[in-house]
């Protein structure tokens, strides 16, 4: 124990002198997590909380356009801004260029009239098919006048399609309602009562949405819940710059050689490095999580909610940290120069992070990359953290994701021993 304590003390002292290493291990991830979370937060807010602003230029003064605008409003995903000041298409486009809104819609002047005419035609056809004599309204020879939707090109394709789908639903609702009214009027020669209209238009089938999380509760995804664990993992693996470089320095300085001539096993040195840097990775997690909990709300970012299973979170942090430390030692043992350790170490972590889904979600990757993703230890680390932070799981729920991390760590340790023997360092 005396030797181990002395070795750990030495490792901490060396670490404390490595100012650049400390800045890279603590400063850089803290900056990254704040910057990236801030950037992604606006996207998450747009998707989760903020309504999409839509400028509506209603050139129609009829009832149907008002009903259509009401229907759009009831969808719940739009913040409607009506504009009658200017009715020129060029002005709409100008306002869009000025980023006033992501969407704009122009309702043509005779929208109500044409929609009602089309409804009368549909009603007449329906009555005719029942063997009843309906109103012989003739279809409008100019055809229905389309609504025009303007959108910012930056709008994601999937989001634009969702918006179009929602607008079509509103349009369908208004048209169906008008057809129903026309049929009722043709049969009863009086206006359909509001209560009946409401009950007829009401959906009889409801959609039951169930979140598939471990605890059965809906966890609204936000930038903090996504980014804090991801960049914590990145920070942990970035210890490669300090630890990998430190091992190379030790090899090159001759300290390594001297240690081999002393009556102690080199495994003690490895154990000490692992314990020292495991403390570092745990400290990184504590600092980054603390920033998510206490600093984020002050800078307008969502507060990080810790998982209910704090014990599980601690175990996952240790397991991920051990994997990161094993990787760093492996790089240090095989690198010949400090430049190699730092360069390859940093580069490989960025690549493994990208492949592991830390930068772009795994489900958004091509199929081939999704297969390659399984090889990145950072992917499995992210999976375990996601299980706790996003899916409300406990250690018992996510242990299958821990197994590959442990396997990778043991494999890396074996490679380290092999490398040390191959290079005649032990």
């Amino acid at each position: 124990m005396h030797k181990l304590r002395a070795t750990i003390t030495k490792d901490f002292r060396v670490l404390m002198r490595d100012k650049i290493g400390i800045a890279l291990m603590f400063g850089m991830p803290v900056l990254l997590v704040i910057i990236v979370t801030s950037i992604q937060n606006s996207t998450f807010e747009l998707m989760n909380k903020n309504k999409i602003t839509v400028l509506i230029y209603n050139l129609d003064s009829g009832r149907i356009s008002k009903e259509f605008i009401d229907a759009v409003d009831k969808i719940g995903m739009f913040r409607i801004e009506l504009d009658r000041r200017d009715q020129q298409q060029a002005k709409i486009i100008d306002r869009m260029h000025e980023q006033e809104a992501m969407l704009a819609m122009e309702i043509p002047a005779d929208f109500s009239e044409k929609t009602m005419r089309a409804a009368d035609v549909s009603a007449g056809k329906a009555l005719e098919s029942f063997g009843l004599e309906g109103d012989k309204a003739k279809p409008d020879s100019t055809g229905p006048l389309p609504l025009t939707l303007y959108y910012q090109p930056v709008l994601q394709e999937s989001l634009r399609r969702s918006i179009e789908g929602a607008l079509y639903s509103a349009l369908q609702l208004v048209e169906s309602k008008q057809v129903l009214r026309a049929v009722y009027f043709a049969v009863n020669e009086k206006t359909m009562p509001a209560g009946l209209e409401k009950s007829l238009m009401k959906n009889s089938v409801t959609l039951n949405s169930i979140p598939v999380s471990w605890d059965g509760i809906r966890h609204t995804p936000n930038a903090s819940q996504h980014n804090v664990p991801a960049w914590t993992i990145f920070a942990m693996f970035f210890v490669v710059v300090s630890l990998g470089g430190g091992i190379v320095r030790e090899k090159l300085s001759g300290s390594f050689t001297r240690l081999r001539t002393l009556p102690t096993s080199y495994f003690l040195v490895l154990l000490s490095k692992q314990l020292t840097y495991l403390t570092v990775t745990t400290l990184q997690a504590v600092i980054i999580f603390s920033i998510g909990i206490w600093i984020f709300p002050f800078i307008g970012l969502p507060t990080l909610d810790l998982p209910s299973d704090i014990g599980g979170l601690f175990v996952v942090t240790l397991v991920c940290g051990w994997c990161a430390v094993s990787y760093a030692i492996c790089v240090g043992v095989f690198a010949e120069t400090q430049e190699q350790a730092n360069g390859f170490g940093a580069f490989s972590i960025v690549i493994l992070a990208a492949l592991g889904g830390l930068m772009v979600p795994g489900f958004a990757m091509p199929e081939t990359l999704q297969m390659v993703m399984q090889l990145s230890p950072l992917h499995w680390c992210l999976e375990t953290y996601s299980g706790l932070f996003l899916e409300g799981g406990t250690l018992a729920d996510i242990w299958t994701n821990i197994v590959p991390i442990l396997f990778t760590s043991v494999l890396l340790q074996a490679v380290v021993i092999m490398g040390l023997k191959m290079k005649r360092l032990i």
Binding site: R13, E250, S253, T257
Partner: protein
């Protein structure tokens, strides 16, 4: 009396080499000697020292340190000897005290022993004023003295010194040599190699000249000088290691 070092029928070659570096090599160094190992560059001095300290493994033959075969007694052997390598083998980021604390513990000393030895060595080697300064900020001579202090912190009975004074000024060299003589007086066997032949002449009482993995001379320094009619080690070195020697 047990020899400090006994090398018998040693063979060694580096991987990929055509001919063996050492073949059936024999050498005996007695306890209490100040033994100098000399030879031109590439003669095999450092290789031999690495074999004697277990950093390299012999292909065949045996090396015994104070009667213990190095192959099978790693821990016991490593307690016996100290090594002062040519490279400055310590943590430059740490202070002399912090380095001695670590290497002392790693050599098996207790906390109190480390403290006593650290104070003793820093005083003897005149490093007290810089005991809490990071080594990277110290002069070359001071670093050499710390390199030596680490090698002797556990009071080894056998000390290997590979160019212990390379790159230092005359005063530091003198201080180191005087300290080594004092250690030897206390019973430490010294095995020393250097290109500083004038320094070696003042330190060693027995020498071996090796060239191309073979011993070309091995005797008391004075006996060798008389035999080869030389007045100094430099002349002897040139005489014994010249191409037609």
């Amino acid at each position: 009396m047990t020899a400090a070092i006994s090398i018998r029928d040693l063979s060694f070659d580096y991987p990929g080499s055509v001919s063996p570096f050492f073949s059936h090599f024999n050498l005996e160094i007695s306890k209490g000697e100040r033994f100098g190992l000399f030879g031109p560059n590439g003669a095999g001095k450092t290789t031999l020292m690495n074999l004697m300290t277990g950093l390299l493994t012999a292909k065949s033959g045996s090396i015994l340190l104070e009667g213990l075969e190095i192959k099978n007694n790693h821990n016991a052997i490593n307690k016996l000897f100290g090594l002062v390598p040519q490279e400055l083998s310590f943590y430059q980021e740490l202070t002399p005290v912090q380095n001695l604390e670590f290497f002392g513990a790693y050599s098996g000393l207790s906390t109190s022993e480390i403290k006593t030895r650290t104070d003793e060595l820093l005083t003897i080697l005149d490093l007290n004023d810089v005991r809490h300064k990071a080594l990277e900020k110290l002069s070359g001579g001071m670093k050499r003295r710390v390199n030596l202090a680490i090698g002797v912190i556990h009071r080894p009975s056998l000390l290997f010194l590979d160019e212990p004074t390379v790159g230092v000024d005359v005063q530091t060299r003198f201080a180191i040599v005087e300290y080594l003589k004092a250690l030897n007086m206390d019973g430490t066997t010294l095995v020393y190699t250097s290109h500083q032949l004038s320094e070696a002449e003042g330190l060693c009482n027995k020498i071996a000249m090796i060239d191309e993995g073979k011993i070309v001379a091995h005797d008391d320094l004075q006996a060798l000088l008389s035999k080869h009619e030389q007045i100094g080690l430099e002349g002897l070195f040139i005489n014994l290691t010249k191409p037609d020697a």
